[in-house]
């Protein structure tokens, strides 16, 4: 029942918001709905019963509307439901920029992502996968930057091609199930396919997931989209939506196609490691805060993907933890980027400087988040990255060594950003800057607390994914 509510609340409130004309009440309603979703996902963390939901959907096809909450999906639903209240809080004082429709689409997107994490029926999974994409398309195209239409379209076509190929893979697996076919994940798990078939399906499905994550060389939509999308949407895209790809690999790809996973793991890890280095190097050269965070995000996701395919317990555990932590950290970074752009009107490092004198609170909070982005000890990211590297190290020492270079590069670009924006002398643009308002402070402090708590005591997360 909990799982059903997690989808139902955002859908209903999202649809309701299309009929509300008053902006104030739209903001309050959306904040309320997202907090309610958060409350339910927190309650479901400790609950042992009432987690699954199943109903008839299309009997003739053997498709069911079945949702299930296990440890992994609990954690990701928590991430999804934390992110929205924080995002709404951080834009609470933006006047007249976003209409009620914006909040409605955001909630619908949340519902779609939630469904992807919960679905235990492949057709339903595909439905939600697309349902998450369509609101994103409208959000980015309406409220995005200057080149929003072309860039968002590229993003949409890219992911749509991927998901159609995934659909073919799903249909193929469905036709292999015994008796009257079914889409249920249990039946997919019990399939015994020849390695040839597995390889074909692996290519089809991994294509979709690789685009979503994104893995080098399928990443070219990502920096443009993150840059052009309105920042609140970018937060969801990079904080939560990319996790859909990683999640799908863990739940729908590796257990269903074990032989193919072994067969392709070298190639996938190689691509991930190349992507990490490549993205880190490009991130160093960026002059735009948003583009820099976008590339750094590619590097981090690359490490997560490599760790998953390393086929070790440590690697997988680290990847799972890091999925959650990366979401929290990157949302924090985007909030900072949004604040800077809104206050000062530019995102370029070369036009910024000395902001720490004017906005000390913001500076402190950003420094913590930046340390987390480089995975320094005591921040939550350290635990995840440590586990991932130990997993990768067991798999192949060379891959681990090369991947570790990107950690150093990560420190270079992240600290470079902190230094250029916050330290040095103030420039004309930052002369009149003021410190952040209460709502952004609250949102950032909340994120920083999560980062520090899980950095010192990560056991709750580890227990959650082990269950």
């Amino acid at each position: 029942m909990f799982s059903f509510l997690l989808i139902l609340i955002p859908i209903l409130s999202g649809l309701l918001l299309f009929f509300i004309k008053n902006e104030k009440s739209a903001k309050s309603l959306s904040l309320l709905a997202s907090v309610l979703t958060l409350a339910i996902s927190i309650i479901s963390l400790s609950s042992k019963t009432n987690l699954n939901f199943s109903a008839e959907w299309i009997p003739s096809l053997g498709a069911k509307f079945s949702l299930s909450l296990d440890g992994l999906s609990k954690m990701l639903c928590l991430l999804n439901s934390i992110s929205l209240p924080i995002i709404f809080l951080s834009i609470f004082k933006n006047d007249n920029k976003y209409s009620p429709n914006f909040f409605g689409l955001m909630l619908l997107m949340q519902a779609g992502i939630m469904g992807v994490f919960l679905a235990s029926d492949a057709l339903l999974f595909y439905f939600f996968w697309e349902l998450a994409l369509i609101p994103a398309y409208f959000l980015c195209s309406i409220w995005g930057g200057e080149k929003r239409i072309q860039v968002t379209f590229k993003f949409f076509i890219y992911t749509f091609v991927g998901s159609l190929l995934m659909l073919l893979g799903i249909i193929y697996l469905y036709l292999q199930t015994k008796g009257s076919h079914s889409f249920s994940i249990q039946d997919f798990y019990s399939l015994q396919l020849s390695s040839n078939k597995q390889n074909t399906i692996f290519c089809l499905m991994f294509f979709a997931f690789a685009i979503k994550m994104p893995i080098f060389p399928f990443h070219s939509w990502q920096p443009d989209t993150y840059e052009q999308a309105p920042t609140p949407v970018t937060m969801i895209l990079s904080g939560v939506m990319v996790k859909m790809g990683v999640f799908a690999v863990i739940k729908w790809l590796i257990p269903v196609l074990p032989d193919a996973t072994n067969h392709f793991s070298n190639i996938v890890i190689l691509l991930s490691v190349i992507g990490m280095l490549y993205a880190s190097l490009i991130a160093i050269k960026q002059d735009d805060v948003k583009r820099m965070i976008a590339y750094s995000s590619i590097a981090h996701i690359g490490l997560i993907c490599a760790a998953i395919f390393s086929n070790t317990i440590n690697g997988l555990q680290g990847a799972l933890i890091q999925m959650f932590n990366h979401g929290i950290i990157v949302i924090g970074l985007w909030i900072v980027a949004d604040v800077i752009e809104k206050q000062i009107g530019t995102r370029k490092f070369s036009e910024l400087g000395g902001l720490a004198q004017k906005a000390p609170t913001l500076a402190i909070l950003l420094v913590v988040l930046s340390f987390a982005n480089i995975a320094l000890p005591l921040t939550s990211a350290f635990v995840g990255e440590f586990l991932m590297f130990s997993g990768l190290f067991k798999y192949n020492i060379w891959f681990a060594a090369i991947a570790a270079i990107s950690i150093i590069l990560g420190a270079v670009y992240t600290l470079n950003m902190v230094q250029k924006i916050f330290y040095g002398n103030t420039v004309s643009a930052t002369e009149n800057a003021i410190d952040i308002s209460w709502n952004i402070k609250l949102a950032l402090i909340f994120l920083v607390i999560i980062v520090l708590v899980f950095g010192v005591y990560p056991m709750p997360l580890i227990n959650l994914i082990n269950s």
């Binding site: 003739s60 096809l61 439905f127 409208f138 195209s141 309406i142 076509i157 159609l164 073919l168 249909i171």
Partner: protein, 458 residues
């Protein structure tokens, strides 16, 4: 049997109604009521309540599949008249005749969904297409409309000739018009005659459903005809053509095994290629829809290729989802003053209901989940994978589906993301309501396709 008789009678009724009144609203309402009667009589026939039985000596065979298809078609026509019936008056003064012709077309459709001999196939095709030649040319003062009618007539007559030739060859082998053959030994005796005869019929059916490379008439005819009638031609008539096509070649697919499986993939890929690629480059939405209807035909051909249970269910779903969406998008298009993509700029600001419903129609045409179009495409792909493991072909089809997103979404981009003030003719609240109901139906089909398909097995 009911539907054939009732539709023919209604055609006559509509013709004479023009004598008694010239009020266009009254005529439209008579047509609406007539369509409702037709739908009800067909449903009654399905359940065997009050049926008219005529001994046709096995020339027509009525099945649940045919009944359900008829119901879908009549229901679509009902929506079509409700949404676009008022626009008939803009085409010309002879509104009653237009409605009469539409009912005659439906009579042909009812024959095509139940024929059991080649003779009835020929009659059905002719009854269906001859009124269309007239409808295509109803905008008499418009050169393009004249061109469309002439082109359609010449091409149609030509393809009918080819079909007759094929039927003659098969009659020569068989000694009768039956579509099944008694023994296989007779076939071998006649060598090439049977494949040749079937090939002729196949080619002429490809003409009718505008499959490449026999599609050349389609864009000009669809573009030149008055938009109200293009909407009818590209949905109901095309779907009926497919049903006839599938019915005919289902029975022969075994005899044609090898050669068959070579021709059809080529035709399918060519149709998808031509339809999708040319649609990308169009500047007018109407012409884009004409090419996209070729592309959709490519997907429907999958049902012919796989002919199994999935594909039979799928073609019904495809007919419904595709017809609903196309009729809806044409109904919106007719209200626009400018048919180019730029003419849609900013429609979401001036007419939010039209823009929102048009988006759902376009989603359905593009096959986005949550709309009927998704399951339509799903059934086609799944049936092909189940029957032949035609992996490569299905992958190509899917890539073309992604291309189709490009041109359908251009309209959405224009409506929602571009600045402008799209001009429309006057829009009544009844029209908006009709669009909303149609959009709701499409979403219903996209969430629960079983509500349509369960009717096949009660």
């Amino acid at each position: 049997m009911n539907s054939i008789i009732v539709s023919a009678l209604l055609g006559v009724v509509m013709m004479f109604s023009g004598i008694f009144t010239t009020n266009k609203t009254i005529i439209k309402n008579i047509a609406l009521i007539g369509m409702l009667i037709l739908l009800v009589s067909n449903i009654a026939n399905t359940y065997g309540w009050c049926t008219v039985d005529v001994d046709v000596k096995g020339m027509l065979v009525f099945s649940k599949f045919g009944y359900l298809f008829n119901s879908i078609i009549f229901f679509t026509s009902l929506i079509y008249i409700f949404l676009s019936g008022n626009d008939f008056a803009d085409v010309g003064n002879n509104v009653a005749e237009y409605f009469a012709l539409i009912f005659f077309v439906l009579c042909g459709v009812a024959i095509l969904s139940s024929y059991n001999t080649l003779l009835m196939l020929f009659l059905g095709v002719e009854i269906m297409t001859i009124p269309l030649y007239i409808l295509a040319g109803t905008d008499k003062k418009n050169l393009k409309s004249n061109e469309a009618a002439l082109k359609y007539f010449l091409m149609g007559a030509f393809s009918t000739g080819i079909m007759l030739m094929g039927i003659a060859l098969i009659y020569g082998i068989n000694g009768n018009f039956k579509i099944e053959f008694e023994t296989t030994s007779t076939i071998q005796n006649f060598g090439i005659l049977l494949p040749l005869g079937l090939l002729f019929i196949f080619v002429s059916m490809c003409f009718k459903v505008s499959a490449a490379p026999f599609h050349f008439w389609t864009p000009d005819v669809y573009d030149g005809s008055p938009s109200v009638f293009t909407s009818f031609m590209s949905t109901i008539v095309k779907a009926a053509g497919f049903i006839a096509f599938i019915k005919l070649f289902e029975t022969h697919s075994i005899q044609l095994q090898t050669s068959w499986k070579l021709i059809l993939p080529i035709i399918i890929i060519a149709t998808l290629l031509v339809g999708n690629i040319t649609a990308v480059f169009q500047q007018s939405v109407k012409r884009m829809l004409a090419y996209s209807s070729i592309a959709q035909a490519g997907f429907m051909l999958f049902a012919l290729y796989s002919s199994n249970t999935l594909s039979r269910e799928g073609i019904l779903l495809y007919s419904a989802a595709y017809s609903f969406a196309t009729i809806g998008i044409f109904a919106v298009l007719i209200k626009m003053k400018d048919y180019s993509f730029d003419g849609f700029n900013g429609l979401s600001k001036t007419q939010p209901v039209l823009a929102a419903t048009a988006t759902i129609f376009l989603f359905s045409l593009a096959g986005i989940p949550l709309t009927g179009g998704f399951f339509a495409k799903y059934f086609m792909l799944a049936s092909a994978l189940q029957e032949h493991k035609a992996f490569l072909m299905v992958i190509i089809a899917v890539l073309f589906a992604a291309i189709s997103v490009y041109y359908y979404f251009r309209v959405i981009q224009a409506m929602y993301f571009k600045q402008g003030d799209a001009e429309t003719t006057e829009i009544t609240s009844g029209f908006k309501l009709g669009l909303i109901v149609l959009a709701a139906l499409i979403i219903l089909l996209g969430v629960m396709p079983s509500i349509l398909l369960q009717w096949l097995y009660f």
